[in-house]
């Protein structure tokens, strides 16, 4: 028989077996690799002023609820900069680079607000782990959010919500919020060289937690871990939990959640405004792909008419981008942002009557396209207001509420406004986003719920010579920061322009409801 078979069989079978045994044996006998990550003791002067948790363990990232998979700090060298990922993932990088996620740690509005808070209290810098846990998880996880900076800075740490942060997530708690994410930055990041990644890209994908992570980051629970924010005694003067940002629960209780339209569908669609219009028309098909633009509502950070002020507000230009490319990407994202904002709201006239020489009318502010309240997020700075102007038949203005003073950047103090207020321990409103001295959160007017409306009633005395028909011009405005904050915290006289969400003109016919 078969010399060939007798000759080759041992070679093939034993060779295969011995190869596998050799590799496994080498792995077993090789000196054990140290546990990935950085031990607390190895970060000099790392402050832990908040005590131990209920199980008696140190809380290196508290008051943020952010965690690593093994509880250790992260090695900055293991967190790749997004610019490095861009070597192969150029498309995704250029989608993400102009987004608010990319500048979450760099934008001046945020940076100055954090500095103002850090200066308020003892342990202010360590308390800022609460802020940085969502805005700059790399800074917190590497131990840089500390009064003594003993960890060297890195590009990745300053990139805000960078690639590695989302693509190593293994757990999210949207009920707890405040950054309640577990990120496998210590064990879930491969250190393969670029050439080897190109030879085995599937292994590169698997190293980033692939199946588990990809399932998690495709759902709204993941977003809710940061887009749910509460203040409590760990970082503020609140004695009980104060709900500051409830975007996730607004969505979860809405028609959108019941119909499986999640955050990613709108905010990561290739054309978010078109997708919202599609949803509004009743077509619930998912987007054909998900982009990393995360188009949102902050129109200011894409207003290229601000020139160099915009670069200042955005905290400079990200590594990996030229100035020209940055401008092009920001301008494109700005168009998408403004288009998305215009799909969110609508106005309708609900009633108009004239009684005893008084004109009464009601305007409905409608949330037509947002899967969460309008406005949403932390709305002590962001706010929405309604401007109405009534003219008589001769064109004379007989009533005006909600005017905006473009020279001073001030909104009519009597305007109907949707905003939350930070209240200090003395019951006074805090205008400058001072989280650490906030004792309570109140709402001037809570946001308009998804697919809901808020009816605002007005009454004005009619001048004696005023004759109808009366014309109502209604405009719904949105603004991302108060002028007081800009003066006090940004220390600049830049006027923050408002954005018109919706507008309508109505003829006030007594007793009838109309849409524009």
């Amino acid at each position: 028989m078969k010399h060939q078979f007798k000759t080759h069989l041992p070679a093939v079978v034993l060779g295969t077996f011995l190869t596998v045994v050799f590799i496994i044996g080498a792995g077993i006998l090789a000196p054990g690799a140290p546990e990935p990550g950085v031990d607390l003791a190895d970060v000099p002067f790392y402050q832990l002023p908040f005590g131990l948790d209920a199980a008696g363990r140190e809380r290196p990232f508290w008051p943020s609820r952010l965690q690593t998979e093994n509880g250790r700090l992260a090695d900055p060298a293991s967190i790749q900069s997004a610019a490095k990922c861009a070597t192969c993932h150029r498309r995704e990088f250029e989608e993400w680079a102009p987004s608010l996620h990319a500048i979450a740690d760099r934008d001046m509005v945020y940076e100055r607000a954090v500095e103002a808070n850090e200066d308020l209290l003892r342990d202010g810098i360590e308390k800022a782990r609460f802020c940085e846990g969502c805005h700059a998880p790399g800074e917190v996880l590497t131990g840089r959010t500390n009064r003594f900076k003993s960890v060297m800075p890195s590009d990745a740490a300053t990139e805000g919500i960078t690639c590695v942060m989302c693509h190593t997530a293994t757990h999210a708690d949207p009920q707890e919020g405040n950054g309640a994410l577990t990120l496998a930055v210590n064990t879930g990041v491969d250190q393969l060289s670029d050439a080897m990644i190109l030879a085995a890209p599937r292994d590169h994908a698997r190293a980033f937690g692939a199946t588990k992570t990809n399932t998690l980051i495709a759902g709204s629970d993941f977003c809710g871990a940061c887009h749910t924010e509460t203040y409590d005694s760990s970082m503020s003067r609140a004695q009980n939990r104060q709900h500051v940002q409830t975007t996730f629960s607004e969505w979860r209780n809405s028609w959108y959640a019941r119909n499986d339209v999640n955050c990613q569908d709108c905010h990561m669609a290739p054309d978010p405004a078109a997708y919202v219009r599609q949803i509004r028309s009743g077509d619930l098909a998912k987007p054909e792909r998900y982009t990393h633009n995360f188009v949102g509502s902050n129109y200011l950070m894409f207003d290229t008419s601000l020139g160099s002020n915009l670069t200042f507000l955005r905290g400079g230009i990200l590594p990996g981008l030229t100035e020209a490319r940055n401008t092009e990407l920001v301008a494109r994202q700005g168009e998408a942002t403004r288009a998305l904002l215009r799909t969110a709201a609508g106005l309708a006239l609900r009633d108009a009557t004239v009684v005893d020489s008084k004109l009464r009318f009601a305007v409905a502010v409608q949330n037509l396209g947002a899967g969460h309240n309008l406005p949403t997020g932390v709305i002590d700075q962001k706010y929405m207001w309604l401007e109405v102007a009534v003219r008589d038949a001769s064109g004379r203005k007989i009533f005006h509420s909600g005017a905006f003073d473009a020279e001073r950047g001030e909104t009519d103090p009597n305007a109907v406004i949707w905003r939350e207020d930070f209240i200090d321990s003395d019951g006074k409103r805090i205008p400058d986003h001072l989280t650490f001295t906030t004792a309570a959160i109140t709402h001037v007017r809570p946001g308009v719920p998804p697919k809901g409306e808020d009816v605002v009633a007005y009454e004005t005395a009619l001048p004696p010579l005023a004759k109808g028909p009366f014309t109502l011009e209604a405009r719904l405005w949105y603004r991302v920061a108060t002028q007081q904050f800009v003066y006090n915290t940004l220390k600049t006289d830049l006027i923050i322009p408002p954005f018109e969400l919706a507008a309508g003109q109505f003829i006030l016919v007594a007793g009838k409801e109309t849409k524009p």
Binding site: F5, V12, L14, G15, V20, I23, M196
Partner: protein, 175 residues
């Protein structure tokens, strides 16, 4: 000195020369088998065990790539001669068919392997290019399962009787 009676018959001498341990191409075939075994072992490790330690997996991947290139070169230089020697001797159409199938499997393994290594070659040459996610998935799938099928096919190829000497049994070589 051996007597004429003890010398092997010409047919047996031919048999020993062409099928015995010292026949042409045996060393090359054995080397290929060993290389294939190493590739199979490293490949199985990468597919099923590398997740335990991605960074150790890089060493195994590098070994797999290098051994794969050596295997490809050796295989291409050997297969021509093997076909020339082996085809005329195949006595059964089934064996011939299975042999061609085996060759096709090895060709697919080599081709998919080279395709997967192409992005690395482009990178080392200074460029950045890679297959789409779907293409990578198909290549990996084909490369893995064809390898396993080729391993089974190789053993069958070696085990099947494929020659029948036209000599009387009693006069068969004593060696």
């Amino acid at each position: 000195m051996k007597s004429l009676k003890t010398l092997p018959e010409p047919a047996c001498r031919r048999f020993v020369l062409e099928y015995g341990p010292k026949r042409p191409g045996i060393r090359g075939a054995l080397a290929l088998s060993l290389l294939f075994a190493v590739l199979l072992g490293t490949g199985l490790h990468l597919e099923f065990l590398a997740a335990r330690n991605w960074n150790a997996g890089e060493a195994v991947l590098l070994a797999h790539l290098l051994v794969g290139l050596i295997f490809t070169a050796l295989f291409l230089s050997w297969i021509g001669g093997h076909l020339v020697r082996g085809l005329p001797r195949s006595q059964r159409p089934v064996f011939t068919g299975l042999s061609w199938l085996l060759l096709a499997k090895f060709a697919l393994i080599v081709i998919t392997g080279l395709m997967m290594a192409l992005p690395t070659a482009v990178y080392l040459a200074g460029g950045i290019w890679f297959w789409s996610f779907e293409a990578t998935h198909v290549q990996t799938f084909l490369h893995l399962w064809t390898s396993l099928a080729a391993a089974a096919g190789l053993l069958a190829h070696l085990a099947m009787r494929h020659w029948q000497l036209k000599v009387d049994r009693p006069q068969r070589c004593a060696s």
